[in-house]
Symmetry: none
Subunit: 395 residues, 4 copies
Amino acid sequence: MKITEVRTIVTCPGRNYVLVKILTDEGVYGVGEGSMNSSEPAVAAMIEHSSQWLIGQNPFNIEDLWQILYRNTYWRGGPVFRTALGALDIALWDLKAKALNVPVYELLGGRARRGVLCYTHSGGGSYDEIVEDVQRCQEAGFRVIRVQHGGYGGPGILGHDPNPIEGFPAIPIFEPGGYLSDTPKMFEHLRMALGDEVELCHDVHEQLGPTDAAWLARALEPFRLYFLEDPVMPEEWEGLRQIRSASTTRIALGEILYNREHIIPLITERLIDFLRTPPMRMGGLTEARKIFSVAEMYDVRTAFHGAQDIGPIAQAASVHFNLAIHNMGVQEWVTYPDAAYEVMPGACTFSEGLANPNPGPGLGIDIDEDLAKKYPFQTARLPIFRRWDGGIHRH
Amino acid sequence: MKITEVRTIVTCPGRNYVLVKILTDEGVYGVGEGSMNSSEPAVAAMIEHSSQWLIGQNPFNIEDLWQILYRNTYWRGGPVFRTALGALDIALWDLKAKALNVPVYELLGGRARRGVLCYTHSGGGSYDEIVEDVQRCQEAGFRVIRVQHGGYGGPGILGHDPNPIEGFPAIPIFEPGGYLSDTPKMFEHLRMALGDEVELCHDVHEQLGPTDAAWLARALEPFRLYFLEDPVMPEEWEGLRQIRSASTTRIALGEILYNREHIIPLITERLIDFLRTPPMRMGGLTEARKIFSVAEMYDVRTAFHGAQDIGPIAQAASVHFNLAIHNMGVQEWVTYPDAAYEVMPGACTFSEGLANPNPGPGLGIDIDEDLAKKYPFQTARLPIFRRWDGGIHRH
Amino acid sequence: MKITEVRTIVTCPGRNYVLVKILTDEGVYGVGEGSMNSSEPAVAAMIEHSSQWLIGQNPFNIEDLWQILYRNTYWRGGPVFRTALGALDIALWDLKAKALNVPVYELLGGRARRGVLCYTHSGGGSYDEIVEDVQRCQEAGFRVIRVQHGGYGGPGILGHDPNPIEGFPAIPIFEPGGYLSDTPKMFEHLRMALGDEVELCHDVHEQLGPTDAAWLARALEPFRLYFLEDPVMPEEWEGLRQIRSASTTRIALGEILYNREHIIPLITERLIDFLRTPPMRMGGLTEARKIFSVAEMYDVRTAFHGAQDIGPIAQAASVHFNLAIHNMGVQEWVTYPDAAYEVMPGACTFSEGLANPNPGPGLGIDIDEDLAKKYPFQTARLPIFRRWDGGIHRH
Amino acid sequence: MKITEVRTIVTCPGRNYVLVKILTDEGVYGVGEGSMNSSEPAVAAMIEHSSQWLIGQNPFNIEDLWQILYRNTYWRGGPVFRTALGALDIALWDLKAKALNVPVYELLGGRARRGVLCYTHSGGGSYDEIVEDVQRCQEAGFRVIRVQHGGYGGPGILGHDPNPIEGFPAIPIFEPGGYLSDTPKMFEHLRMALGDEVELCHDVHEQLGPTDAAWLARALEPFRLYFLEDPVMPEEWEGLRQIRSASTTRIALGEILYNREHIIPLITERLIDFLRTPPMRMGGLTEARKIFSVAEMYDVRTAFHGAQDIGPIAQAASVHFNLAIHNMGVQEWVTYPDAAYEVMPGACTFSEGLANPNPGPGLGIDIDEDLAKKYPFQTARLPIFRRWDGGIHRH
């Protein structure tokens, strides 16, 4: 079998997704995804460049092809390249599993659990609203629930920059004081209202400096979080050490990580409990198998990022991987707009707390290329914050 | 598909081998091996105990079955259990690959090289004899050649214990002085006679203490060894650190290792360059995939032990694994007596420096159970050494 | 005096025990034990293989014989071999002490205390039941008492796997949340009900990951435990460091350890306060003397595992050893079924908080070989756990 | 002053270059460069996306704009984004310096030396050819000269892969043995022929594993290198530590680095002596000022990568920066095809060992946009290597 063509598809059925399709001379093909917030055209350009090396090759030699793609780029790292590599690698696994007529998880070691434990998002403008929202999530079958007080930035948001960038939305102003004061109180309220059983987590969104993050992680110990996410930026090696030495709160991190040389020391030093980097972002299932083999040795588990910026195909890759490995932790779960499900038929489903892939060989999901063309790429911008004095905030 | 029976076969077609066969209700079966010098009955007993858990299970769920076997034993580690687990795990991979009609290496990531680089043993009673023997090996196609001066213990052997254990062969006497003085001279002679190109390695057989081993590793630097094997016992953490800080000679080690908690720190501290623990000894291909994923992050490579105490089925598992991973190094290569090849038809072959598996699905090798019965187990003893003063030598 | 025969006896007077008897040409003999949960046939096979080296030897040369046995096996480590070595070594000490007509503790340095402080197990389905059970133990003379809420897994048990292995007992499901929430509350209740004086310990049974274990060890600080046992798996080097840096709760660990290279770093880094590996499991009294010599330098003490999987002979070895060394801590104490006491007459006794050996030379205990034959080996299985999502749980 | 437009220009006057031009409402404009081997379309896409944030802004607020660009991307790192950021940042500094009618180095602290010490490349197929080539470089005014024996891979190249990728140039085969044996001999020959005065350096091109690299760094000590470049991949933290503890040869590294969290630990641990990451690659002059402020504290110096994959504008940014900082080391110097000098008039010049920028405000260099259009982007591929057994080589 030989690879004859690699197609890169950028589509926006509600949100921008970068998709890839690897075709062969025997008709069987594989699908992959390399979506990346605000960097879609860069990833698409990288996939197109890298895929030259695949034409004429035997798609079964995944490790060899991965190494060729990885080594020939000269740069090896960075989120754009690692995501492009991830898209191609996921498509190769889908292709091979389809050719052997088994689900992808069979090639990764076989099914190791009945489904993938998922967590969902809840929140509200007041403590009581949050309690209600958590209860709604519990009724929907979730056993692990992320709670946030208010919108992005929570009680740290003081208003908006009075001097915004021309033509851009006004920039919110964040100060850590209010956020730090509020968060332990929120959890105290939640534990009193909801009891000790429900598993709760919380996302700091990298808004805190190291000492504040350590303060918060210690202050939250009595409420036994399932995890505290992104307490600082993952670049802050010493900050992460400071949090660890100050507290016993479980730490989840990694949704913006991509390079093995950054991830591995976080694991081997046990600076984290959950690694959130999904297979797509780190170079695909081939790299995820290796990285999470290291993680298994240190009891670091998956908590794959799975917000809507990661589409149904990358979600399926995460779910197949989570089904097959021992050190699975929890999976962030979202649903997509109808249009996304139509462009990518065969998405994973959620039921009674667990996600499972669509049955069928490979990932179980496909691309409707004609439909994808009806949703062209749309430029989007992510928010930034200023401090009260007008300086740009950390994250 | 369900596992219906697990057969344990101990046979001695020239040397003792412990073999295993996992049978299913659909007729497809897998073969594995768990041979272990002088501990064969213990391994066979352990396989028989552990295999209870497999009956009735779906053999495709290899990761889950591995975890069940690993966790239920209570002990998890040790060479007897890890080897028993390795035998069962190898048989599960053989079975699954046969069921999918592909070679085992396809399930491990696909072929990543045209063959497996092998090294062989050479030696002689004099430097000139060694030179001739190396040249003979080169003509046979080997690019990497292990050289030893004299028999086991080399020029360190002073004779035999005058007061041997009753009924046992006389114990040799070893002193490090002669061995240390000789070895750099041997390599100087070999490099002068053979040039710089041929890749040479040497096995210390754990005969030296840490400081002597560091002395030797440094003294051999000018001769650029392919590797220096087992300079000390692998239990000697500080000794290994001492060797590393004293020298830049490549170190190979691990033929008697088995537990991940012992292996992983050797890799992450980069105390070794080559890990010699074969998949069979560490719990099978499932564990080897994980351990060598860690090793890839640190550029530690395979140099799987492959003397005759490891039989043709375990050799095939090593070769398939080496074909599929990136951080393959070199494979120790031996041939077996004809009887062993007849009991286990379909062994790997060596040609022009490279080993390759027998084509066909699975490992490509089988067990002739009737023939195996004709070669019953035979008790054997391994040698030990005394020092000149009569004390037991280290290894 | 020469060793003429080594007999290996596997018997099941209520539970499987592996016993050994070393006979000499002068009539005096020694008894030892190498029991090992679910690995009895493997240990018996290993004892039979190793004991070849002893025939014809002078049994008084214990150090030399230990080194011969240790070095000739090629593998040196692992629980099967170390336990087999332990059985033979204990029998040699028993033999020598009998020949000299003194208790074994006299050869280990003499009696250093009037008896061996013991702890026992208590528990119950409710806090009040636990309180009552502790009081019952106090009345029975115990000053140190282990407390557990519920059965194995405690309040972490959610029920049973809906999809059990065919023909096996249903697998319990464990999640750490309920267990973590409950345990500090249990200790708060116990301290309020029982006061601060009684020494309480608790066994995590390796059920927690490192961060959760650190959380628990810190949360239990106010209740001043005698020790917290097996908070993580002993393989988790970084996890143990994390627990230590997070808390000041005393840690006991080691019932599944056996190799010196694993035990020694735990001591020299002071990652533990009590080492639970009994002499039988680490290669006998000869090895225990050396390991606990290192431990004395770091004030690490004995807390020998002594559940029913370790029989009366190994218990006697532990008690003699504890009587003689300086850094004795506490001894886990159980009683055995009558049948076991009959098969092994002369077991240690407990009175007013302390254990003592049966008077008489050697260990003070014997084997009734005829009776032993009436209780043949019975296959047994240890429990495993799944998580709620169906994945195999850590331990 | 307000930014009105950002133009991205991809041109191939001999080699692909990505250029940027920031225009304002006052007519003054700045030029920058973000060239990146084989990733040009990805960088261009990233510049176009990021530059949205600049429109309408005051170009003098470089720190604020840098933080906006850096924080809003969500990803912050990776060579594609860091290079895009570098291109924009360099253009902002050019613009501001032009507006103030001073050279860029004046804004960076003023001129701190009369010119920038440069090194050049020499080599040959034999030791004598290399000697002649070094002498030619000396006559051309170079005081620091890089020497290589043979082409890329040097004496490690064994020929070409017999089984090349279809439609691609045959892949060279590399084995470290020949390269390791040769390199110390080459330096011994050069020192004998050329004396001790001339400063010589050597580039390993990441071809060696850690232990081999440590071996080479130690073997080269007698020849006192100016630096040894890229002895291993910069991802290999433990490998770099191993090289450092084994040798006192100066180490230069970083041409493929880009993220501050990777660079800073190399400096603070003093694993390197020279950092080769040019300002363009790390996010521009704004980031270079900060990173080399840290480097000054540890006496780590610049040795900016400056091969032809970095064009004349990025070269000018490096030269201005090197003129102004204290811990300048050496600059890699190349000349470009005439077409490149015509597309980018005003390039730096070299004379008597030193480089200097074109006089005039800003960087002193411009872009001829009409001419640039005549040289459209051309796809190019970088070489990869296989080992003799067919496996992909490390780098």
